[in-house]
């Protein structure tokens, strides 16, 4: 059952002029959250903006004994709500409802897990990487952004033992171009006997390309989708994704409760 708390802002750390990491005191939500789940945040107090916004849980914050003290979100300033979150001050309260949605599947060794992140699509992979490392799963993060300054938390993933494959559109760090190119090469080189699970989060075009590439090599792939969401609980039917059902027909599936993590090969990509 989801919990709603008026969470205190523990810290708000800008990563760039657009990105910030907002830490919220929501220990009860953090304690029961699984990698890939999300929270619905209400950054304002009045009625404009009115609706909450969905955010992947970025980090689970813990005290020295390992007990959950809160969670953070990775936000990119785009509209009114993300601007309010960028400007949020310490000790301010933000309504936080969660944890919500279907989490990632966490494989077991000897299977590997490859994470594919584009821009703010890094958000669900910090907790997933922790879970994979804790489970002894060898993991790789394919992470693409526009430029070097927008590749965040690289040391966090390195400390967990995650192999990093970086790309930037301007070539300022890692390979120049999009993240799908190295993914394709690595999949081509992977021995058929080796199991790997792909997890992708990022822009819609990148997700479709990741799904296509996974399909080309017959590898399972989960994508974490982002849709405009009204409620996060299945009430409003706003956040639908066209998916092929068991009957072979395409149905509109609510990504808030069937997802946000969905099996890529069932999505009807345009």
């Amino acid at each position: 059952m989801p919990i709603d708390v008026a969470a205190r802002v523990i810290a708000n750390r800008p990563l760039s002029s657009d990105y910030n990491v907002l830490a919220l005191a929501a220990p009860d939500i953090a304690a029961i959250a699984s990698p890939g789940q999300f929270v619905m945040l209400r950054p304002g107090t009045g009625r404009d903006p009115l609706l909450r916004r969905p955010f992947s849980i970025f980090e689970i914050l813990r005290d020295a004994d390992g007990a959950a003290t809160g969670l953070s979100i990775l936000s990119k300033r785009i509209g009114v709500s993300t601007s309010l979150l960028y400007d949020a001050r310490e000790d301010q309260r933000i309504d936080c409802l969660g944890p919500l949605g279907r989490p990632f599947t966490i494989v077991e060794p000897p299977s590997q897990a490859w994470m594919i992140a584009g821009g703010v699509g890094l958000a669900p992979f910090a907790t997933l990487a922790e879970a994979l490392t804790a489970g002894g799963v060898k993991s790789t993060l394919f992470y693409g952004a526009r430029r070097a300054e927008e590749l965040f938390y690289l040391d966090f993933f390195r400390r967990l033992g995650v192999e990093l494959v970086l790309t930037t559109e301007d070539g300022s760090l890692g390979e120049r171009g999009r993240v799908i190119a190295p993914l394709d090469r690595r999949l081509a080189d992977l021995p058929a006997a080796a199991d790997v699970m792909l997890h992708a989060c990022g822009p819609e075009g990148m997700l479709a390309a990741a799904a296509r590439t996974a399909g080309k090599y017959g590898r399972p792939c989960e994508v974490s989708v982002e849709r405009i969401m009204g409620c996060g609980l299945g009430g409003c039917y706003s956040c639908v994704v066209p998916m092929r059902g068991a009957d072979g027909a395409v149905h509109h599936v609510r990504s808030c409760i069937a997802g946000p993590v969905l099996d890529a090969d069932q999505i009807s990509w345009e």
């Binding site: 405009i228 409003c236 639908v240």
Partner: protein, 302 residues
């Protein structure tokens, strides 16, 4: 304070109703809300057949409101009866089903199926969805159409029939009168206001459907006025809705003439709103020495 009220043969323990299209089929909220504590829940709109609705984006936010164009995605009447009603009965929910149709025959058939289903307390007739071309609104925008749908459904069911009226007409009270004349047990209003939002960068509408229905606090004063007009025109109960976000808003509708109220958009913002609304009504009752909440209905000193 006595919070109960009567709509035809249906007794509601309190006037707080979850609005159609804003509460799934009710079962989605069973772990969040005590469904039996609500006055009633109204299901998503049901046709005979399942429908997929419009592609995303289906909603867009506006100042103190939102537009939706879901397109009446739904599982159809039979699957609702088979898959959702057992849990709703087990949870003790008072269920009102929202019935849609593209023809009068379809309204009649869906209503007949649902009226025969154990645990269905009333039928809300959706003659007001602004988002699909071929269903409902053509009845809801014509006085004769409203009369014909209500009287046809009235003939085949003994449970209360509640047409849901559109605000997208010049004189909504005349539609309430047509519904009353046709044998409706109550009317509910307002459905959403037909509206449009355009992305100026791309010069495209922000909804896949182009237009959608505006709801939320932005529409509340218009909805209150329309409820007030209907109260003066008909004797049957009026169920008011449109932007209710707290107990004071609900009381405003009741004082304007609503016997009960529906809450939609605000439930998206706060799924735990129901106990807060109930507490607010009870607090008002204590402060104003109200013995029966229904005594407040239509008491505006206008």
């Amino acid at each position: 304070m006595d919070l109960s009220l009567q709509i035809g043969s249906l007794r509601l323990k309190n006037p707080l109703i979850a609005a159609s299209g804003c509460f799934g089929y009710g079962v989605e909220y069973a772990d969040v809300v005590d469904l039996s504590a609500l006055g009633a829940i109204v299901s998503k709109g049901l046709f005979l057949a399942a429908r997929e609705g419009h592609p995303a984006p289906r909603i867009v936010e506006t100042p103190s409101g939102m537009l939706n164009a879901i397109g009446l995605q739904g599982i159809g009447a039979q699957r609702f009866i088979d898959e959702k009603m057992p849990e709703l009965r087990a949870r003790g929910a008072t269920v009102i089903v929202n019935v849609c149709g593209t023809t009068i025959d379809e309204y009649v058939e869906v209503s007949r199926m649902l009226a025969d289903t154990e645990g269905v307390g009333a039928i809300e007739l959706n003659i007001s969805c602004p988002n699909i071309k071929e269903g409902g609104i053509q009845f809801g925008c014509s006085l004769n159409g409203t009369f014909d749908v209500v009287s046809a459904v009235r003939k085949v069911t003994a449970i209360p029939v509640i047409p849901k009226l559109t605000p997208n007409v010049t004189d909504v009270a005349s539609f309430a009168r047509a519904a009353e004349d046709a044998g409706a047990d109550a009317v509910s209003l307002v459905n959403t206001f037909l509206a449009m939002v355009i992305d100026v960068e791309t010069r495209k509408p922000k909804l896949s459907n182009g237009v959608g229905g505006l709801s939320g606090p932005a529409i509340r004063p218009i909805a209150v006025r329309m409820v007030h007009e209907c109260r003066q025109m008909v004797k049957i109960p009026v169920i008011g809705m449109g932007g209710i976000a707290d107990a004071r808003d609900a009381l405003e509708f009741m004082i304007a003439g609503a016997n009960a109220v529906q809450v939609g958009t605000a439930n998206f913002v706060d799924p735990f709103i129901w106990t807060k609304l109930l507490d607010g009504l009870c607090d008002y009752g204590r402060r104003h020495q109200v013995e029966r909440l229904s005594d407040l209905v239509g008491t505006v000193n206008a």
